[in-house]
Structures are given as structure tokens and as C-alpha cells.
Assembly symmetry: C2
Homo-oligomer: 284 residues x 2
């Protein structure tokens, strides 16, 4: 519970941000690697003239190469430091951040807000171009080029079997002691101008979960596997080496959903109770 309580002389800020994941070793800090977390924390530290580095908590800990348009994070900072820069914070951050990260908004969060634990759902997209006549070099950083034509009818049919609350351990990289039960709310494919886009929503995702699901559905879409296969893999409950995890660069975190302000603290409590012990589920 400690994290939801903000110290009296501190302000909890909510940040909405986007990044091109190509040049980052993912969100989470790692020694000796360029990460989004460290890049933003350094910029915040400079903006706010902090003595110790800002420590961000994030809604979706994206992997290396995964992008975001609607990432959400929070950070607790001394109230006085925030007050001193609040009016110019957006412009300040734009000048302090490299062009592959943009902070879209930064403002005091409503009481009870926790970027990770208050979230109700995360929405990702996965972009695939299967038509050489539509391959757009300007979108190659966030679009997978697939050599075989995809039929989204069977892909949508197969996705149905994965919706709802399941143990997604067949589609996750396991972490000792962490639950892999998640509720998949939406997984569907649409085609626009030669590009096939998946919309994927879940309460939260395990590590590699979207990319493994996309990999299984790709095999259905280009005819290598029957429509029933992704559901069978899910039901079997063990990682199937035939499921190829799709590359990271087609994946983008688009949006994180939160309840109304009055529900933020209650939601954070409930999520923490359900998922935290003995080890967090990791990916948010």
C-alpha cells in the first residue's frame, strides 16, 4: 500500500509519453544500456533540479524495440521543485529529451493514482504489411513486413478462443512465482491500405504475451496452422516451440485505461492484492 501514499511535501506527477523503441533496450533501467526509463528520469532530474534521480513507475514495461504512443508513468517529486517549473515543464522536457521520446503531458496526478496498479487495461497494436505493393519505408520502424499473404478471417476466428480470463503461461516467458493469469478483453485484426493491424486489450500482459499471440495467429493467417491451433496451445498450458514470438518493432502500446478518479485508489489496492505476492507479474 505504501506506494499509493504520497509524502506530504511531495507531488505525484502523471506523465503521458510516446517513444520510438528502435533505439532503446526497452523501458526498464539496465546497467550500461540505453533505456526509456533512464532517459526520462535523467531529463526529469534536470528539469526539476533533483538531488536524487526521479524514480518512475510505469503502466507497461515494454521490451527492447517495442514502441509506445500512450505510455503512462508516475513519479513522486518534491512539491516545491515541481511548483518552480510547472508552467514551463512541457517545453523544458521537450528540450531535454532526445527526439525519440516525447512527453505529451505532465501534471499532478489525482489522489490515489498509481500508473501501474490503478490501470484497468492496456491497449496495444501490432502492424504487419503483407503486400509488397503497400510496403512503406517510412513506416518500416513500426511495421513488420511479412512475406506471405495473410487472411484475417481465420486470424480473427482463432483469436476468439483466446479471449477471456486464462492462464496464459503457454504464451509467456515464465517468471518464478508470478501469476500468468490474465483477462484478454480484445484481440482482433483489421486491414487498411495493405496493412494488417491487431488491436489487443487485456487487464495486463505477461512478458512476451502479445508478441507470442501475434506469432501464433500469423501462422494461422498464412495457412501454416489450422484455426484451432492458437486455442489448443493456450489450453495445453505449456510453451510450444512452434509458436514464434513476433518481432518487437511491430508492437506499440497505444493506450492505458484508468477508472474514474474516485476509484483510482480502490483499483490500485485490488490489483496489488491480486497480483503482487510473492513476486509481481512483471510486465504490467
Amino acid at each position: 500500500m505504501a506506494e499509493t501514499v504520497v509524502a506530504k511535501d511531495e507531488t505525484r506527477l502523471r506523465l503521458d509519453l510516446g517513444y520510438d523503441g528502435s533505439g532503446f533496450s526497452g523501458w526498464a533501467r539496465q546497467p550500461g544500456r540505453r533505456t526509456v526509463q533512464e532517459t526520462v528520469e535523467i531529463a526529469l532530474g534536470r528539469l526539476l533540479r533533483l538531488d536524487s534521480p526521479a524514480a518512475l513507475t510505469v503502466a507497461g514495461r515494454t521490451d527492447a524495440g517495442v514502441h509506445a504512443r500512450g505510455q503512462v508513468a508516475h513519479v513522486d517529486v518534491p512539491a516545491a521543485n515541481w511548483a518552480a517549473v510547472a508552467a514551463t515543464a512541457m517545453r523544458g522536457l521537450a528540450g531535454l529529451l532526445p527526439p525519440d521520446v516525447r512527453v505529451h503531458t505532465v501534471a499532478p496526478a489525482p489522489p490515489g493514482f498509481d500508473a501501474r496498479f490503478s490501470a484497468l487495461w492496456r491497449r496495444y497494436t501490432y502492424r504487419i504489411c503483407d503486400d509488397p505493393a503497400a510496403a512503406d519505408p517510412l513506416r518500416r520502424a513500426d511495421t513488420l513486413w511479412h512475406r506471405r499473404a495473410l487472411d484475417i478471417g481465420p486470424m480473427n476466428q482463432a483469436a476468439q478462443a483466446c479471449l477471456g480470463e486464462h492462464d496464459f503461461c503457454a504464451y509467456c516467458r515464465r517468471r518464478e512465482g508470478a501469476s500468468t493469469v490474465r483477462r484478454l478483453i480484445r484481440l482482433d485484426w483489421a486491414r487498411r491500405d495493405g496493412v494488417v493491424v491487431a488491436g489487443v486489450v487485456a487487464d495486463a500482459f505477461c512478458h512476451n504475451m502479445v508478441r507470442a499471440l501475434v506469432g501464433a495467429l500469423l501462422a494461422v493467417g498464412d495457412g501454416r496452422r489450422p484455426v484451432s491451433w492458437p486455442g489448443e496451445v493456450l489450453a495445453a498450458g505449456v510453451r510450444d516451440p512452434a509458436v514464434h514470438v513476433a518481432p518487437p518493432h511491430g508492437l506499440c502500446l497505444e493506450e492505458v485505461g484508468y477508472p474514474a478518479d474516485a476509484e483510482l485508489a480502490r483499483r490500485a489496492e485490488a490489483t496489488r492484492r491480486r497480483r503482487e505476492a510473492p513476486a509481481g507479474p512483471g510486465r504490467g
Copy 2:
């Protein structure tokens, strides 16, 4: 006329292509520079096993840093060499080209087709983001980030004064002896999700013309100049140093329009008669 006549043992191919201009010194070959033309000519030479390099003629000779989604070019190649690879040409080119250029289609052109002189019009877009909350790092390669908020009402009003046939020498880099008379068919601005996009269509464009027009309209949109200014600059007929040529990376050649097949040769003839002597207008 010589260019419209294809030798008997040769096939004229039409290529439709797209590229991310970021890594190129423009379309046209230049010694010691990486250009789109040379990159595609080398790939075609390998694909078709040509003794001498393929020589491409292009619809729009884009400048350094300018992108294309709908560029069109033609090339005359030995018919036998084409016949030998026709069935696998698309896949072959995809393997031979770097990821910042894609050939969307390559096929024998209809009789009379000339990528440059048969064209009726060229359509460009220019993308500008003026809202920090909407700045998408994934689109930074093809979107100008503008610090001041833009009002597209006055921009659209000002653009009206530039439509029609005019001598655009005030908006062009002059080339000795080349006409700068062009017919501007469309120039309008629309806002979508925090991004302002210009659609610009003309029979052809002089060097720098779209970017200079965009630069003048930007000054209107953010309030630095009155609505009447871009039209006054046009009417004055001399380059105005107050017009800042907009950066290349917001600009993209989206589409080239051609007449029906039966009209291709006639159109090429007419264009050549009107524009060629004593020196070509250059930019297509």
C-alpha cells in the same frame, strides 16, 4: 520525341516506388552521394543482369531528405533480360534493395508512357505537428515539429491566392532558361489528431516550390504574417528572403497522375513541347 520511342528489342518498364528520404541525398544521381536513383539503378542492373547500368527517368526529382510513397519512374531494358526475371522481379528487388526503398510494382509500361512527360499532375503532402501532446516520435522522420500553434483557417485562405497558373519564380530556386510557370491545382490544409497536413497538387513543381509555399503559409498560420502575404509574394515575382523554405523531411510525394493509356504519348509530346526548350524545368 526520341524518349517516347522504345527500341524494338527493349521493354519500357514502369516502376512505382516509395522511399524514406532521410538517408538519401535526394533522387538524382550525384557523384559520391547516396541517391535513390543510383540505389534503384544498381538493384535493377543486378536483377536484370545488365551490362550497362539501367537509366531511370522519374516523375518527381525529389530533393535531399524528401520522401515518396507514390514515386513513378520508367526504364528501358533489353526485352530478353526482362522476360527472364519478370515472374520473380518483385521478390528479387525486395531482396536487392535496402529497407529504405521499396518498389511497389514493376511491369511493362503501356505504349507512349513516359514517367516524367506523360504525367498530368503530382500530389505531395506536408506533415506538421504543432501540438506537443500529439508529437509522435515514430513519425518524426516525416513530420515537422513546429513550436507555435497553427490556425489552418488563415492558411487555407492564403493558399487560395496561389491556385491556378502563375509564374512561381518567387517560390522557386531559379534555373537559367527554365520556365517557372506552373499550374497549382490544389493547396489545402487539414488537421487530424494534432497533425496538420497539406495536400498540394500541381501539373509540375519547380525546385523548392512546395517547401517555399509551405514556409510562407506557416508564417500566416502562426500569426507572423497576414493572410494576404503569400499572394503578394507570388505577385511580386521575386524571391523574398522572408519566405523560409520549410525543411525537407515533412514533404512526401504521394501520387503521380497519368491520362488514360491512349493519351499517354500525346500528353508526353505536349509537355515536352511546352517545357523543354531551351532547358528542362528540372523538377518534374
